[in-house]
Amino acid sequence: MNSLAEPKKWERFFWPVLATAALFALWHFAVVWTATKVFPSPLDVEKGIAQLLRKNILWMDIADSLRRVAFGFGAAAFLGIPIGLMLGWYPAANRVVNPAIQLVRPISPIAWIPVSIIFFGIGDKAAIFLIFLSAFFPILVACVHGVVTVPSIFRRAGMNFGLTPFQILQKVVFPAVVPEIIMGLRIALGIAWLVVVAAEMIAVDSGLGYLVIDSRNSGKRYDLVVAAMLMIGAIGLALDLVFRRLGKLKSVRWGFRDAS
């Protein structure tokens, strides 16, 4: 296949599906050939998923994980976007707080687990706090960067047409930054979904992360461990697709010229 040629419609679905099927086949035969007693085959995992669904555990765990991400990520967006826009708009303020932000930002949310348990105890709040931390900084940084890099030509055009500084922020800078905000939210949601699993292994007793660790601890049910892992992957993909869709909206598409 020539890489310059536009793939045909059926090809765009056929090859990825084939590749995924091949991966599952490889997994299946690897289990069969090595005759392992511990690691489950795809069929075992499928049975595991069915069992979890029957007992309604899976839906509850998915709902709990999504709820935690929704609160943590929602709070991060609710605070991160306005604060980021402000810091980008007032470079003097940004210069004051930026060093502190850059110091806190590289700390893995995992390292915050003990601190969050001191703050909030074992439970939902601790997990939500960790997700908030993990999502807040990517959103903040994307917004600041977006505002700072708005081409001066746009601001000057806004000034020329007699807009007040607030109107320039509202009608010029904000729409100019929306693609970058969407990009920041997409990255933040990806990280939040990674972190919720880790947080649920330690701070709470429900959710997909808890399902993974609990399935292992209570009877080494690796079929359920892998089933939970696959669910985590599938939901993470679905969440990412939502944000990829947002990037295709006409009023923001210009900002994603060469992104997927």
Binding site: P151, I153, F154, R156, A157, M159, N160, F161, G162, K171, V172, P175, A176, V178, K250, S251, V252, R253, W254, G255, R257
Partner: protein
């Protein structure tokens, strides 16, 4: 320093009086504009030409109020320019249209104070003037470079400015589109009769468009000379008079007209 403002001559729209612009960079001071004086009549089409980086854009930005002169003053209708103003709009070389707005939203951008019906009417009028009917709902990323510049010109004209500043507006277009756009601009100018100050590094473009061509020297930029183009529109660009005027400017800039 005390600047004596003399009352404007009859018909003078814009006057530049002893404008100096000095930039400070890395502790060095660079004189960009040196004692610029210019009077532009109402409804006149002025082209400013000069070598790249000579300071023509700086002069334009100073006239448009985006840059305060280090000394001297710019007056429009006898009033000192203190900042950008919707009565005089600057058209940028490229990427000046807002990519998140459609063609009609871009053209209506400066009309936010008008009631809706009037705004829609004006938008329709300027869409037609720049011949973009059928593209009202298109986004700039779906348009060609020439069409984007039409949107920018329409957006500027829609607020009914007295003065239109254009900063190499066709500089990023291919030569055929550039030629077509010049014709379009003249057609629009004859309909609207704004005062136009047009910066270009293309001498042919200047002689084809302008009533007067202002030739600037390299840094620090001074006005070398002002040539009146006394050929009525539409101009025959192979007439002896056209070639004579054009070649005189080439010579002025120090380009022997042979390659």
């Amino acid at each position: 320093m005390g600047v004596v403002t003399t009352p404007p001559a009859i018909g003078t729209k814009l006057s530049v009086d002893h404008v100096h612009v000095v930039f400070k960079r890395d502790g060095k001071t660079i004189s960009v504009l040196e004692d610029i004086n210019l009077e532009v009549r109402s409804g006149e089409f002025i082209c400013i030409v000069g070598p790249s980086g000579c300071g023509k854009s700086t002069l334009l930005n100073t006239m448009a109020g985006f840059l305060a002169p280090t000394s001297g003053s710019v007056n429009i209708d006898g009033e000192a320019v203190r900042g950008p103003d919707p009565r005089r709009i600057l058209v940028f070389q490229e990427r000046g249209v807002f990519p998140w707005l459609t063609v009609e939203e871009n053209i209506g951008f400066g009309l936010f104070r008008l009631p809706r019906a009037e705004r829609d009417q004006r938008i329709a009028r300027y869409v037609e003037l720049v011949r973009l009917q059928g593209f009202e709902k298109a986004y700039p990323s779906d348009l060609s470079g020439g069409m984007r510049q039409r949107v920018q010109v329409a957006r500027a004209l829609a607020v009914n400015p007295d003065v239109l500043f254009l900063d190499e507006p066709f500089g990023a277009l291919d030569s055929i589109t550039r030629l077509l756009m010049r014709g379009e601009l003249l057609r629009i100018w004859e309909a609207e009769r704004n005062t136009v100050i047009f910066v270009t590094h293309d001498i042919d473009e200047a002689v084809q468009l302008a009533d007067r061509v202002v030739v600037m020297s390299s840094r620090p930029a001074r006005i070398d000379r002002v040539t009146t183009i006394d050929i009525p529109h539409p101009r025959n660009i192979s007439s002896p008079r056209y070639l004579e005027l054009r070649d005189a400017i080439y010579e002025q800039i120090g380009l022997a007209y042979t390659l």
